[in-house]
Chain length 390, copies 2
């Protein structure tokens, strides 16, 4: 186990009807004028918008709206939000939505108080975010874990760059999680969300840090939970209990608790980010394509970890003296799970051919030389992984 | 799953050498004059005291000492600490020790700002703690989980009452956890600590709340971790990796994360508190006596949960159609683990006879009628459980 610091002060308010507490929670954070930030029309059509507005009014809070966040949130809208906040004297950002809306809200929150253009922080890892307006969340899509994470991913549509920043100042002050809000999610969104949650767990699981038994076991417990509940949510979208498991898991999977004391991989996330930046496919779908390919390429550098994963998470019980067979069987089961969720597992399944793979591989390592920690991946490694996904 | 709120802002600083950061961490919390609160001589003999004092001095902090905390911390010392803090204008309490020292520190911290005598809050559940001085922790004994929990247990030696309070104001601001500090713990303390950690997990696990699969699995992962690492720590007290697993687990086991969405039992804790208040035995030892007896008495109200526990945590693989046999086998394995740790599993093992069992049962339910949630236990139920422990 390596030395670590764990700090997550996000207040989670979980369960049926909790969205009515939004105004009170924002007020307790000192809000007076709220930016109500959201995506498309779903929050209006499913009644959530009205409940939030009522809750803000009940708490006596002024608010200004900024809708229109798209999946893979755009820098242009972030810049618009920053200007709006400065003009209006907004002191609190409320994100009502999924990871894209929350990440956009965090970018605005940091941008309002930043000394430079916010995109500089995304492009230059040496620049540190030193503050941000407080952010609150009403979560509608369990997936990204952004509701209590310290990170934000934004896409600059001028050049299709997708990059992230991380800072404790970006951890939301509170997150309201009502599983009933997720009942109206389209099936593809459920599938993408579960894929993203599983990926957050696998990125942390595949570490070269030795002696991390406890967090290994917590991660295995978490992965089994999403593997079991994901298909149930696809079948019965209005099963509260199933949705509650997935929603709480989505938060825990990415609030840094399960990464404590271990160095995660994150190579597959970086490789996927190029896919979704270039082709605007859903992050969860991209991860379902990238992970099996990454596993096939990377497992040989530390087979034992993969054997543990295959036996404890996927119940593979082939003889222990044939690690390659065990891992191959596990990858087939993982791909089978992705398919059962209706997700693509090869690039052509998402309508992507081989023509821009080299370009994506070059961008993926641009400015950093390699990606990933379990196995340090150079440009040629990344290109080989894209090729394995064909 | 039931609605819940989860909030734990304790900053955990974990790993080798982290005690040198104590002064800086206290200063970041606004400390100017620190009460340095500790137990006996072990922190002085093992060099920790000197490191802490140096760290406080390096940070330019004034400090006043109050040592002498005993296991099952005494109200008299708490009252002395409250007076001292008020006289000296102390604004920060630093607990260097295990659960007893931290609980004593929390009682002092709340008592300094409370409007009434602090014991009133322990005796009257309707009185709420509305504030406290900030508390920091340098942990020396992984066990109680008090380093990031919201509770404090104190014994009033006038009458041998042992009672607790809970409040978010009591959550420490930071906790420094260096596994190396635990190398010098005597074997009995390791055993008691592991028993306490296991008990915190079992109290949360044995719930009647349905649909808590995710937290069930997290708890199972955690229980396996202490069951496996506990005996290893007894054999090799200076194995850093083993101690690190136990130390981090001890915190997670009791910071409320694993109780999210479920109503825990806590009957065994209440039953044990009477034992340690009456006979001044270690809490962990008392739990090893109480839990098997509680299980034998309570499992029949919801056998399925016990069967899941026996199969997933203790790998009992007897035919599923004989729940009684499965549970009996699990209890034997649990008792075997306690014995392997050198813990008592019957009252006579700790030199306790039957003469005061009735008196303890009466006190246990005094002012509340019943204890426990998995099965509501009346005075006669508690007396029967004590009898099963003979």
């Amino acid at each position: 186990m390596v030395n670590f610091e764990y700090y997550n002060p996000a207040r989670i308010v979980f369960g049926r009807g909790t969205e009515s507490e939004t105004g009170r929670l924002a007020k307790e954070c000192g809000a007076t004028h709220v930016l109500l930030h959201y995506g498309g029309g779903s929050v209006k059509s499913n009644g959530l918008y009205d409940k939030i507005v009522e809750s803000l009014r009940d708490a006596g809070l002024r608010f200004t709206e900024l809708g229109g966040v798209k999946p893979n949130p755009r820098l242009s809208l972030v810049r618009e939000g920053i200007s709006l906040c400065r003009q209006e004297g907004i002191d609190f950002i409320l994100a009502v939505g999924g990871g894209s809306t929350i990440d956009s809200a965090k970018a605005i929150a940091a941008g309002v108080v930043a000394g430079r253009d916010i995109w500089d922080y995304y492009m230059d890892g040496s620049l540190k975010v030193e503050g941000a307006l407080p952010v609150g969340v009403v979560l509608t899509i369990p997936a990204a874990g952004s509701e209590s994470s310290d990170s934000s991913v934004v896409t600059n549509e001028e050049g299709d760059y997708k990059r992230y920043i991380g800072s404790r100042h970006l951890i939301p002050r509170f997150a309201v999680l009502d599983p009933e809000v997720t009942f109206s999610m389209p099936p593809a969104q459920i599938a993408n969300g579960c894929s993203d949650i599983l990926a957050h767990l696998m990125e942390r699981y595949f570490t070269r840090t030795p002696h991390v038994d406890f967090t290994d076991r917590l991660l295995e417990a978490s992965m089994r939970t999403v593997l079991e509940n994901g298909p149930l949510a696809m079948k019965n979208p209005c099963d509260y209990d199933v949705r509650a498991e997935i929603m709480w898991l989505g938060t825990i999977a990415h609030n840094n608790l399960l990464g404590a004391g271990r160095i995660g991989d994150w190579g597959s996330h970086d490789i996927e980010h190029e896919l979704s930046a270039m082709y605007d496919i859903a992050h969860g779908a991209g991860l379902a394509i990238v992970f099996p390919a990454w596993m096939k390429y990377a497992y040989k550098v530390h087979r034992v970890k993969f054997v543990q994963f295959a036996t404890r998470v996927f119940d593979v019980s082939l003889p222990l003296d044939d690690a390659d067979a065990i891992v191959a069987e596990m990858i087939e089961r993982l791909e089978g799970w992705y398919r059962r969720m209706g997700l693509p597992v090869r690039l052509p399944d998402a309508g992507i051919g081989s023509d821009r793979l080299g370009q994506m591989a070059a961008r993926c390592v641009e400015g950093r030389g390699t990606v990933g920690n379990f196995m340090k991946l150079s440009e040629s490694d990344v290109a080989a992984i894209y090729a394995l996904a064909l």
